[in-house]
């Protein structure tokens, strides 16, 4: 069979904010760039981001990138790499101004400047008064950014492969990554996209948990592709549970509600966050607030018939404010709950939201792996950015408003490094046929007919195992059981079959291949969580309740081979300022 082959300077897998920001930089830099996405670009999950993007513009309250840096490091529970965090916080104002120039319809202040709201974990003066650092377009900031970036890419004539599913990376003997094998969803036809550089920007893997805020398409495809190409995943145990998902359903209610003055109450009408975080209260870090809600419910102070959630109250903000600044939240609450938040509080409970971990990169977006004594050796030609990557700017817990920032800063940085790489690597290397065949094997495996378990029940089981065995509170015993269950599931998935074997827009096959990716990400998460014997950020071990900097101030690295764990040091030295040493984290 003759395979269609296309050649580009740069290939981007994923068309969310990170992928599109990188694509724009590359198109403007005169590189031939292709973007492959399994959904039409504006359907990518960035579109669902609500609250905003952090940058120390100081439009509302005094601010500085250095305070932003401190908050991010403290928020990360000191696991974030301080060089990358300094880089991100310094670059933040610039990337936000760029967005404004691209046409993003930010909400405005009376003086015409970009509107900024308060968000969790933000402070002035290194931990003092609350800051207002989150630049917002009402509560639809992700939508506004994603659409503007797509529009600018149309203007720049970026080449899009819409609704193409990436199967696996192409890698040669010398370790160069040379593109991807994909297939066109419409026709089922495989295609080889050769590229001198490949950027993975496929987002997170929130679908490994049963209740989550994520799109159904967030199946960790790029993370799993990296694993299969021999790249370990970093810090996968750190999964953010967002404090305010709609109870029982999981849809996200932005932290912006609390930023604008909303607060949480329990069944006794008590603002319980005052007990857990006397200073920051409802605007403490997300890990802190999520744990507090879980404890309130566990101790019997939950609301509703089953006492299984708490309430988010914003009635005191008034109808005008809610309709102006939080219109999307109101719409969603009325659609899914029949509750108008102007009149009644919203039932909420922590929900899986974000993968802090991912494909290890340096602050140029290059994917880095341990080789002998070097913990961070670049994989030539391979880049990653956004939620799929782990730079690591979020460490053990991400601050709200820092994920949109992460995708913009590091999508752009990766593109800049790619332009440099292209200067020194002007020609395509020979295509390794073995690697292409291996990827095609992954596709044809699903042509198998006959008896076998179906995909969807296996997916449900996987998500249940993750929720039951790797949730907000974790113990060795429960997680070991979880790992055993995942191993059995992995075998069963290897023998699963689909009934639909047609070529045209076969969604059953896509879901099957997504399940394989979810499986790898779930195993990475569970094994990493079992390995880390301390509590830090979003990772709470009941059997190891304290943070242990002596043993565990280091990044986890999970490899697919034997499900093995390795570790590498945290970069505690910033680029130009003094290091922030670990301190007890109080809000």
């Amino acid at each position: 069979m003759k395979l269609t082959t296309r050649k580009f300077d740069a290939l981007i897998i994923g068309a969310g904010g990170a992928g599109l920001r990188a694509a724009l930089q590359l198109s403007n830099g005169d590189a031939r760039v292709a973007v492959v996405s399994k959904v039409f670009p504006t359907r990518s999950h960035t579109v669902a981001a609500q609250g905003g993007v952090n940058a120390a513009l100081a439009n509302v309250l005094p601010d500085s990138w250095h305070w932003h840096m401190f908050d991010t490091i403290k928020g990360s529970d000191y696991l974030g790499d301080q060089d990358a965090i300094e880089y991100m916080c310094r670059a933040a104002p610039k990337v936000v101004y760029e967005l404004e120039h691209f046409g993003v319809p930010f909400s405005r202040l009376d003086d015409g400047g970009i509107y900024q709201r308060a968000f969790g974990g933000q402070s002035q003066n290194f931990g003092k008064e609350q800051a207002a650092r989150t630049c917002a377009a009402a509560d639809r900031t992700g939508h506004a950014i994603l659409h503007s970036l797509y529009q600018q890419n149309l203007r720049a004539r970026t080449h899009f492969f819409d609704e193409y599913f990436a199967i696996d990376l192409i890698k040669d003997e010398a370790g160069y990554v040379l593109g991807v094998v994909a297939f066109e969803i419409l026709s089922g036809e495989p295609i080889v996209i050769e590229a001198k550089t490949t950027l993975i920007a496929t987002g997170g893997a929130g679908q490994i948990f049963r209740t989550n805020t994520n799109s159904l398409s967030n199946t960790g495809d790029g993370m799993a592709m990296a694993l299969r190409a021999g790249v370990p995943l970093e810090d996968m145990e750190f999964v953010q549970f967002h404090p305010t998902g709609i109870a029982g359903r999981g849809m996200l209610i932005t932290e912006g509600v609390r930023g604008e003055g909303g607060f949480l109450i329990n069944s006794e009408d008590e603002r319980f966050m005052e007990r857990y975080a006397p200073q920051a209260k409802d605007l403490a870090s997300r890990d802190v607030v999520s744990r507090a809600i879980a404890i309130e419910v566990r101790e019997g102070r939950g609301c509703g018939r089953n006492k299984d959630h708490v309430l988010l109250d914003m009635r005191h903000l008034g109808a005008d404010m809610i309709m102006k600044k939080l219109p999307g939240i109101r719409e969603m609450s009325m659609t899914f709950l029949g509750v108008d938040p102007i009149e009644k509080p919203i039932p909420v409970f922590p929900t899986c939201h974000y993968s802090m971990g991912g494909i290890p990169t340096n602050r140029d977006g290059q994917v880095v792996v341990p080789v002998k004594d070097t913990p961070e050796d670049p994989v030539p030609g391979l880049y990653a950015a956004g939620e799929a990557a782990c730079v690591s700017v979020h460490g053990a817990n991400r601050l709200g408003g820092n994920s949109l920032l992460d995708i913009l800063v590091f999508g752009r940085a990766a593109a800049n490094h790619i332009l440099e790489f292209l200067k020194d690597n002007r020609y395509h290397r020979p295509l390794p046929q073995g690697s292409v065949d291996q990827a095609l094997e992954r596709l044809s495996r699903w042509e198998r007919k006959g008896d076998g378990e179906a995909v969807e029940p296996l997916r449900q089981e996987l998500r249940k195992v993750m929720e039951d065995h790797c949730g907000v509170f974790r113990t060795a015993e429960v997680m070991q059981e979880g790992v055993d269950k995942l191993r059995v599931l992995r075998e069963r998935i290897a023998n699963a079959v689909i009934r639909d074997h047609s070529q045209t827009f076969n969604t059953a096959r896509i879901e099957a291949m997504e399940l394989e990716n979810l499986m790898d990400c779930a195993m990475a998460t569970m094994c990493s969580a079992l390995g880390r014997e301390e509590s830090r950020g979003a990772h709470s071990r009941v059997d190891f309740p304290e943070r242990d900097d002596e043993r565990w101030l280091k990044h986890s690295l999970y490899s697919l081979l034997d499900d093995s764990m390795d570790y590498k040091p945290v970069r505690t030295q910033p680029v130009s300022v003094e290091s922030f040493p670990p301190k007890k984290r109080v809000y």
Binding site: R43, Y97, H101, G103, P105, F106, D110, R140, M251, L337
Partner: protein, 233 residues
């Protein structure tokens, strides 16, 4: 609950047909949306084709025709639907398979509207200023999710999909005409001043009626017309 769903797989079917599905009552939970029901039906027949992603009405993937009206399956409460629920792909768009339509023409029209900010003044090192009042003029225009419900419900669009831009693309045009930062208003109006591109709109207002985001493309179109008339006098 009974469903009647349009099926067509070009690999195996010579013609489309309607297929009945039943969702047992014990699987129906309060607050369930149409998409939840479709996902359950798909566990019984994995060949059932439809697009979906965010599940809460912001990505715009799962537009379809439900009991004769276009909408997003993920935000349509099952309880509000009359059974048997008749599901068809968008009218006026070529069917790829089952409920999945070919939206290439829709996207082409979107690009035709040149939906990007044009401002050739030197870039300031900070943000361009915009008064809250000027920013308010973008409300109701920028929130479009490109689901296609509007254009696929517009008779003028069904009739002239090659030449009439359709409500979604025209809403985008209005979004940039209204933006105080955009400097290409003249250019934009000139491109639209054509018997088909803009003026095939006959004010039927199906677009506004079906928009799942509560936007009003019909008003946006008449606003463009008004601006055009003002300009010519």
């Amino acid at each position: 609950m009974e469903f009647s769903i349009y099926r067509f797989n070009p690999d195996t079917d010579s013609a489309p047909y309607m297929q009945s599905f039943t969702l047992p009552d014990d699987q129906i939970e309060p607050g369930m949306m149409l998409l939840d029901a479709l996902l359950l039906l798909k566990t019984k027949d994995d060949s059932l084709g439809f697009r979906r992603s965010c599940q809460h009405g912001v990505c715009g993937s799962d537009g379809m025709n439900v009991n004769g009206t276009n909408g997003l399956a993920c935000i349509m409460p099952l309880a509000n639907l009359k059974a048997p629920v008749v599901l068809r792909p968008f009218p006026g768009m070529p069917v790829i398979r089952d409920l999945i339509v070919d939206m290439d023409n829709f996207y082409r029209q979107y690009r035709e509207a040149e939906p990007w900010l044009i401002n050739d003044s030197p870039e300031p090192e900070v943000e361009r200023l915009q008064t809250p009042e000027d920013r308010d003029r973008l409300d109701g225009l920028y929130e479009c999710i490109l689901c296609g419900c509007c254009s696929a419900s517009c008779p003028s669009y069904w009739w002239n999909p090659d030449r009439f831009l359709g409500p979604a693309a025209l809403l985008q045009a209005a979004r940039f005409i209204e933006d105080s930062r955009d400097q290409a208003t003249e250019h934009r109006l000139e491109r639209l001043d054509d018997a088909y591109r803009l003026y095939r709109c006959h004010g039927i207002m199906n677009c506004t009626q079906v928009c799942p985001k509560g936007l009003n493309p019909s008003k946006a179109i008449s606003d463009i017309r008004r601006t055009m008339i003002k300009r010519s006098v």
